[in-house]
């Protein structure tokens, strides 16, 4: 029987898509023949707007680059500005930054649990993990004042010190989450449906992964140990004790296992930070932001976010406003070149499953 080739559009309005983007696939029967990704539905011209604002006003824009985890964006930009200006960050400021980063990683992983299991048709876990994510957001609210967007990390440190009693509350939350994670894993990783759907699906070949620009958990799921936190240790990550988990296989299952281990590492890092954090200054005050000029220079700074490396290329021409800020979202290559290469040959029902495991995030692709 000859099968006709059909074109299907997944998105922009589709429950299985990860954000507002479109994947156009050609199918033969149930099998994907080719795919191409179309973006632009979320283009807000951020890089143009940053050129209109001054160095500090940009922070309200920056955290909106990627909605599920705004903090790596703030940190990367702050570090780039500090590198150009040569501004020092006090020791306690660095520790608080790491704490914020790991809390952000934690809440983003909880959201991923919901997305990944939801795309496999397992809705219970989504209810649990997204509900429990609120406890992490509560910590954020107490620390920064915002649930989703924080604007907490500034050049020269962080805006506020830890509130009273924060340490106990955070430790209690970690204890609770650790107990819950066991139950999540029973529900997801011990589930035969998830095992059968994830194993051997969406394989990224190990020898091509670096060349294709794969970063983050998908790269570590190919068995390559790569993490900006150990490659170029920033803040105080070199003083902390954590491992970077790697798994062989390169399929959705391996990526899920990497994330499962990374959540445990995040919780362990948060405990260490809360224990080891020194007392002292947390903010190296910047001058009047309206007149704050940064000397001319360029810097490219990377940070490890949940989906991989986030890079900021910041150019200053010596005025109050950034000359150019170009953002490399972690999923920039994942959503285009990698997806085009791993989707052919897959079943049509696995498309949104693979999309979730790659962590494609459209707002940081088109900015």
């Amino acid at each position: 029987m000859r099968e006709k080739e059909t074109t299907l559009y997944i998105g922009p309005q589709h429950p299985g898509i990860t954000g507002n983007m479109m994947v156009k696939i050609k199918i033969k029967g149930d099998t994907v023949v080719s795919s191409s990704t179309h973006v632009g539905y979320l283009h807000r011209a951020f890089e143009k707007l940053i050129e209109q604002r001054n160095w500090l006003q940009s922070f309200t824009i920056l955290c909106r680059f990627c909605v599920p985890e705004p903090d790596p964006m703030e940190l990367t930009y702050a570090r780039a500005v500090e590198e150009i200006e040569g501004r020092e960050v006090p020791e306690r400021g660095k520790w608080i930054r790491v704490l914020v980063m790991e809390l952000a990683r934690l809440q983003s992983f909880m959201l991923w649990y919901g997305g990944q299991s939801g795309s496999a048709g397992l809705y219970t876990l989504g209810q649990w993990s997204v509900g429990d994510r609120n406890y992490v957001l509560d910590l954020f609210e107490e620390l920064t004042g915002g649930r989703v967007y924080h604007m907490f990390i500034w050049p020269g440190g962080v805006r506020r010190d830890l509130p009273k009693g924060f340490k106990d509350k955070a430790l209690r939350t970690m204890d609770y989450l650790e107990k819950r994670l066991v139950q999540y894993n029973k529900l997801l990783f011990d589930n035969v449906i998830f095992q059968k759907r994830a194993q051997g699906v969406g394989i990224i070949p190990k020898d091509k992964a670096i060349e294709w620009g794969v970063v983050g958990p998908p790269l570590r799921g190919c068995g390559i140990k790569s993490d900006v936190r150990i490659d170029e240790p920033y803040e105080v990550y070199d003083k902390l004790d954590f491992i970077v988990p790697t798994f062989e296989g390169g399929d959705v299952w391996a990526r899920a296992l990497v994330r499962r281990e990374e959540i445990k590492q995040s919780i362990s890092i948060i405990r260490q930070v809360l224990e080891k954090m020194p007392e002292g200054e947390y903010y190296n005050k910047i001058p009047n932001p309206m007149k704050w000029k940064i000397p001319a220079g360029e810097a490219y700074v990377r940070t490890e976010s949940v989906r991989g490396e986030v890079g900021f290329y910041v150019v200053s021409d010596g005025t109050e406003r950034p000359r150019r800020v170009h953002v490399k979202g972690a999923a920039y290559t994942h959503a285009f070149t990698v997806l085009d290469k791993i989707l052919p040959g897959q079943n049509i029902s696995d498309v949104s499953f693979i999309l979730n495991s790659m962590g494609a995030c459209p707002p940081e692709i088109e900015r």
Binding site: Q13, P15, V130, V148
Partner: protein, 184 residues
């Protein structure tokens, strides 16, 4: 249903029941148009549990009652949103979510995002804030429910009556208009 009820009081009772039924089963279109989509999962899940109010997701426009515009709209998305809105069946409601649907918010000077949503499609309720908390989202839905119970929320009809004005505004920024014209 074409049975006419001449009696004024009977009509009142029918309207009350109709509106009561409508307000307690609001199917929300699952279209995350902007960054506000991040607060929808918490609203739907265990802590805030919007399903208590009869609010739940619907996958296709034809089965949805509420179009939730979660944040800024790029011009490219506006085209899809209009398409989605026109596919929805009457009665249909629109909730503008976040400051950027009201006056552009922080994107007021962006070349690619619209500033005032109600120029393009009629809006029933605005929820302000960036981002609105799940409590605010639920409060917005409750305001919409009250509006439905009062019988004020017939913006689908308003859209049809003023279609020309809306079309002019839409075509001002959407230059390549390749969409089917729906006549309901």
């Amino acid at each position: 249903m074409n049975t006419t009820i001449n009696d004024k009081n009977s009509q009142k009772i029918v309207d009350y029941i109709k509106n009561f039924a409508r307000k307690n089963s609001l199917f929300v279109m699952a279209y995350g148009t902007g960054c506000g989509a991040i607060e929808i999962p918490p609203t739907m899940t265990s802590r805030y549990d919007a399903e208590r109010f009869g609010i739940r997701g619907a996958a296709t426009p034809r089965q949805a009652d509420v179009l939730l515009i979660t944040g800024y709209l790029a011009v490219k998305t506006l085209k899809r949103v209009i398409r989605v809105y026109e596919q929805m069946q009457n009665p249909k409601y629109v909730i503008g979510f976040g400051s950027c649907t009201i006056n552009g918010g922080m994107y007021w000077d962006s070349y690619n995002t619209i500033n005032a949503l109600d120029r393009y499609i009629p809006v029933d309720v605005y929820i302000n804030g960036c981002m609105p908390r799940p409590e605010a989202v639920i409060s917005g839905f409750v305001a919409l429910q009250e509006k439905i119970q009062r019988g004020d929320a017939d913006n689908g009809k308003k859209y049809q009556e003023n279609l020309e004005w809306y079309r002019n505004n839409q075509k001002k920024i959407i230059k390549d208009w390749k969409m089917p014209d729906y006549n309901w």
